[in-house]
Subunit: 337 residues, 2 copies
């Protein structure tokens, strides 16, 4: 499924970013992985294109022409990248996927503005919905869905930042946060795609429900990989989320399960000002083991996979689309990168 749409998504994204008007555009092309720092084209593999792929799949699976959903798909990927540019600034990360980040290369003011440009290019892309064959009222509905999801995403980012300074984030708080921060855009991808494909609000809502579970699975798996992932596949060192003292699923879950004494140990390590040692990391890993955290994360993903599959049985899909959706959910649960 990912391979099927890759070339078309790439073309649409390059079209959206074709301007050379001012120097911000080479910065953005660098961030998208198309050119190096000197604006020389490079051969990059690019991202997974998860969100646009989900959108195009939902459109096709519900009987629509992929081209009709392409503006929405491209907008999703642009918004996703915009949020990464601003995330890099907030987290002061100097690299992402082994490449230097924009604020680190060009300074904060230009990077912040570059992110805002990418964000508005997503809106510009949506103007092509009508050219792609949607009616005005359909186009407005799609724009409305994306705006709604985008607001949730930013609210989720705000909660995520707030939680960094909160010792005890509860599991329900964490789940609400990722539902917004990551889930909203993934849910919207399937929702928009199905709306464009079917022009039927029941079908669109069915995919919206599927998307809610898919979003949760994606993020919880991401959090599992952040602690137990294989460095050669994720590109991040083992325990990287522990090193960064991130309050992702593993930390939140372990803290909610372990006894008071162990909790003090855990928080003592997470509240250290200095860098964590290997001993710190193995102590945290031991506490997560004690709390059965990894297993609990996988169980939660399994439950939500079943929820997604149940929803998919209520929308009328042909066998091949149904199988693809099942495979996708399976893949998101066990992916190693």
């Amino acid at each position: 499924m990912f391979e099927r749409y890759r070339t078309q998504i790439n073309t649409a994204l390059r079209g959206a970013l074709s301007s050379n008007d001012i120097a911000v555009y080479p910065m953005l092309k660098y961030y998208m992985g198309w050119v190096d720092k000197n604006n020389v084209p490079i051969n990059a593999t690019g991202g997974k294109f998860l969100r646009p792929t989900l959108c195009l799949f939902a459109c096709e699976a519900t009987g629509g022409d992929v081209a009709k959903a392409m503006p929405a798909a491209a907008a999703l990927e642009l918004i996703h990248n915009f949020s990464l540019i601003h995330d890099d600034i907030q987290d002061q990360d100097r690299t992402r996927h082994h490449r230097e980040t924009l604020w680190y290369l060009y300074g904060l003011p230009k990077a912040l503005t570059a992110g805002n440009v990418l964000r508005v290019l997503a809106d510009t892309t949506l103007h092509n919905l009508q050219t792609a064959g949607l009616s005005s009222s359909q186009a407005l509905k799609v724009i409305g869905l994306l705006t709604e999801a985008y607001l949730e995403m930013i609210e989720g980012q705000y909660l995520d930042i707030s939680y960094e300074a909160t010792a005890n984030v509860s599991l329900p708080q964490y789940l609400d946060m990722i539902k917004r921060k990551t889930g909203a855009l993934i849910r919207c991808a399937l929702n928009m795609g199905a709306l464009i494909g079917s022009n039927n609000s029941d079908v669109a809502n069915g995919f919206r429900s599927i998307g809610e579970s898919v979003g949760l699975i994606f993020q919880v798996r991401d959090d599992v990989l952040g602690v137990w992932g294989d460095e050669s596949l994720t590109g991040k060192p083992v325990g990287s989320d522990i090193l960064r003292k991130k309050k992702a699923y593993p930390a939140v879950h372990a803290l909610s399960e372990i006894e008071s004494f162990d909790k003090q140990t855990f928080l003592g390590i997470y509240e250290k000002q200095e860098d964590l040692t290997d001993t710190d990391i193995s102590q945290i890993l031991k506490l997560m083991d004690l709390a059965n955290t990894k297993h609990s994360a996988e169980a939660m993903c399994k439950t939500h996979a079943q929820v997604a599959i149940n929803h998919s049985r209520k929308v009328n899909l042909d066998r091949s689309s149904m199988n693809e959706l099942d495979d996708l959910i399976q893949f998101l649960m066990i992916r190693e990168y």
Copy 2:
């Protein structure tokens, strides 16, 4: 004109920001001047509401009902404030209008995110265009105009940041930059208002042309006040833009006019790492005098006022609207705050 719409604009803005879902909303209400740092309501005078006022005026002057343009008017003010929040971060300004800025109070990550929330609330507001009586295709046109203007504004901000590190910014470069950074949203205000009011693209384009000149007048006057404004009226110390070494109209113009020897003196002062002294400021003021900068700025505003008035004679306005527009242009040319 400003008083006529003030209450309605205020109500619309408060409606757009009525959520209390998460802690970002009190931050935004603080920034809008409605509450203090502890979320206690205060009596603030609020801004000029220039952009929404222009939008509502254009709607009314072209025969439309003000309520129809209100979502667009509110969106303009929200976008304007979003850009101020991010500007404060970029410029590291600790206060604006004598109030502490968001990044200074809450840290950069939360402030950046708060700005992004305000930006998306502008989009959310536009969904009310249909409820306010616009057809889907009219609503899409309005959304398209705002997106176009918003992209130009961000591009202008990017150019503005780039020019900070450029010794010699030419007058044409400067004018192109302000046309985008400030002009685009002001032009869009009149353009959207007239489109909603008249539903006629000739009338809308006439107001667009008026808006281009109005935007230029507004920014050049702002730049004049930044150097020669009365502190008791502008709230900024005399010569504040010189103190900040801002490459606004006065600096760009003076540098383009004075001889090579004086230019070295001027740039020598503007390139100082340390704070400028009173002697530095009076030397810069003397060079601006020599270049006849203030007079040249006022002459440029006069020329553009005439251009705007010529355009206004081509759209069919009743006498009272015509007079109001003339008064507005006159006011923007001579305003002291």
